[in-house]
């Protein structure tokens, strides 16, 4: 009833979670519109999992408040649980049981009769291409199959809001693409997806809105394009035939542009970050005026890696480490 009035799937104000002396989440405020993919991007230990665990009613915030699908996180936790599903970062199904048994088990827990639960399980197994493995214990599944059964267990009934904690960490590219397709299809059918990731490419590919979190604080928020734009227009790369030409160009660039270019000796190229496109065009023009021979040149969009570097002063770690005990 009242949740229809709200346009936001998640509205959080100043959430804080403290573990001992560690402010794992330190004043996070979020607004996630319904029907989008919200990408929560940050390195290990940034507070992603802790935030998700609070929003999924698993942890009580020490400070701040939040509503999920219009229900108060603390006062109306049971209604929140009615509208969400959580796929945790680790096992979110029982590894000792088969895939089919897991889905029947969840089906029974959400209130289906035995018969309905079985029918639903078979439907999902077919859709997620797990029919052949349906009778095998989940612990014998491959990484990609594991992730698919994890997500299938989360949509036994369609949640309004689906939390996915690092859904593709450790997956090979093919399995990762399968998970991405599933997420896109879910959103197309009206589910709001809140996912955490440490992969910049993933946020770039999937998320309509990206929140960047570091050390418990939201340090930037926007669309992929907006985040990239705040860093500058991208970078200009110019290739040369030989090093002499490159050195001439380096002097010209240094005079024309704010930032000094970086040379790649093997490629015989210069790369320089650009604030505005017009300046890049002007710099190229200057090279022609000075008769510097260039092979080719190109402009590239900034990567999210660069975004992160600019925002936090360090690159996000690429490999998943220990994020147990909800202390991420």
């Amino acid at each position: 009833m009242n949740q229809n009035k709200h346009t936001y799937a998640v509205e959080a104000t100043n959430l804080v979670k403290i573990f001992g002396n560690d402010r794992a989440v330190d004043g996070v405020s979020l607004k996630v519109p319904k029907g989008i993919v919200y990408g929560f991007l940050g390195p290990n230990g940034a507070g992603k999992t802790t935030t998700i665990r609070m929003l999924a009613t698993l942890l009580k915030p020490n400070e701040g408040e939040a509503s999920v699908m219009g229900y108060d996180l603390v006062k109306d936790a049971d209604s929140v649980r009615q509208s969400i599903s959580l796929t945790g970062q680790f096992a979110s199904v029982d590894e000792e049981l088969s895939g089919r048994e897991n889905l029947i088990f969840i089906g029974r827990l959400v209130g289906f009769t035995r018969k309905e639960a079985k029918k639903r399980a078979d439907e999902l197994l077919k859709a997620f291409k797990l029919e052949e493995a349906s009778k095998r214990q989940v612990k014998k599944y491959s990484g990609g199959m594991r992730r698919r059964i994890d997500i299938a267990a989360s949509i036994v009934t369609s949640p309004d809001l689906l939390f996915l904690d690092e859904p593709t960490t450790g997956l090979d590219p093919r399995s990762r693409n399968q998970v991405w397709d599933i997420i896109r299809a879910l959103v197309k059918n009206g589910t709001t997806v809140f996912l955490t990731t440490q992969y910049l490419e993933e946020a770039d590919q999937l998320a309509d809105l990206i929140g960047v979190i570091d050390q418990g604080k939201l340090i930037a928020e926007g669309t992929s394009k907006e985040l990239k734009a705040s860093i500058g227009a991208g970078s200009l790369t110019v290739h040369f035939d030989d090093m002499d030409e490159l050195e001439k160009a380096r002097v010209i660039f240094a005079g024309q542009l704010e930032q000094s270019p970086e040379a790649d000796v093997r490629e015989i190229s210069l790369t320089v970050p650009i604030k505005e496109h017009a300046k890049a065009a002007k710099a190229i023009g200057e090279l022609a005026n000075a008769n510097v021979q260039i092979k080719d040149f190109s402009m590239s969009q900034p990567s999210l890696d660069e975004v992160f570097l600019t925002l936090t002063g360090k690159l996000p770690e690429s490999e998943g480490g220990d994020e147990s005990n909800g202390k991420s």
């Binding site: 999924a56 000792e96 029974r108 859709a127 299809a185 059918n189």
Partner: protein, 272 residues
């Protein structure tokens, strides 16, 4: 072909509304069903339920029987109810270990994010644990009978004794469920459980008559809950008057549930 696949996929993920949430009983039964399935996949987990009792019974009967009671036959009648209580009390700690494993692996998070009657997670598991205790009791009494154990109160006495023991074990389990939730690692939990269970089971009337012990030890043995359980079960099995012991066991059991049930649920809700 591809189109057809696409369609089943779309159909499978389109709006499936949530049915009414299951009743407390139905949710508990679902968790019990899961625990039974796990036994089917990992029958080894019944190992301690079946092998413990056999080893204990044979070891204590033939190792100490002659020394303590003069003959193994007489000692068997005395010690079997004791070892029965000890074995079942020992197995109760697996309740906590299983729960701890669920938490460590992450599947516990899924349970806690579901809109279900929350104690169902534990009640379902405890119900199946009762089945384990029953298996252990049956094995031990059957083996004892073969070795010459003769309960003087007959079959009814044995059934009543086992029922009382099951109730006590169920109550005792709430200590382990609480510890299973708050203790971080399985090893620490195991060590802690052992530290509680070993003194309780050995410093009791399980193996010998407490009147043979030094006075200071008797004082501990006399207030040890396990002693009450052993004496009550012994009384029921052999038809001697144990009304006071039985009442004490009931008080202790209800007390354990009243204290550790709510504590468990408190930590369950506020788990970090």
């Amino acid at each position: 072909m591809a189109n057809h696949e696409e369609r089943t996929f779309e159909e499978a993920i389109t709006n499936i509304t949530r049915p009414k949430k299951p009743s407390a009983i139905s949710a508990s039964a679902t968790f019990a069903w899961r625990a039974l399935l796990r036994i089917r996949y990992v029958p080894e987990q019944l190992f301690d339920v079946t092998v413990f009792p056999i080893i204990f019974l044979l070891m204590f009967t033939y190792l100490f029987g002659g020394a303590i009671s003069g003959s193994t036959g007489e000692y068997l009648d005395f010690v079997l109810p004791g070892i029965l209580v000890m074995t079942v009390a020992m197995i109760t700690m697996y309740t906590g270990l299983d729960l701890n494993k669920d938490i460590e692996k992450g599947v516990f998070d899924r349970f806690r994010s579901l809109p279900i009657w929350r104690p169902a997670v534990l009640v379902g598991a405890l119900f199946v644990d009762a089945v384990r205790y029953l298996i252990a009791s049956t094995i031990m009494i059957t083996l004892g009978y073969i070795l010459g154990f003769r309960p003087e109160a007959g079959f009814i006495g044995v059934v009543l004794g086992v029922l009382l023991l099951l109730f006590f074990a169920f109550s005792l389990s709430w200590i382990w469920t609480m510890l299973g939730i708050i203790v971080r690692t399985e090893k620490a939990l195991m060590a802690m459980s052992m530290m509680i269970l070993f003194p309780l089971t050995f410093l009791s009337s399980v193996f010998v008559d407490p009147t043979t012990m030094p006075g200071w030890l008797q004082k501990f043995v006399d207030i040890n809950p396990i002693t009450f359980v052993v004496d009550a079960v012994r009384g029921l099995v052999h038809g001697t008057d144990a009304t006071n012991d039985i009442l004490m066991v009931l008080y202790i059991s209800i007390g354990l549930i009243l204290i550790f049930g709510p504590l468990t649920m408190y930590f369950f809700r506020n788990k970090n």
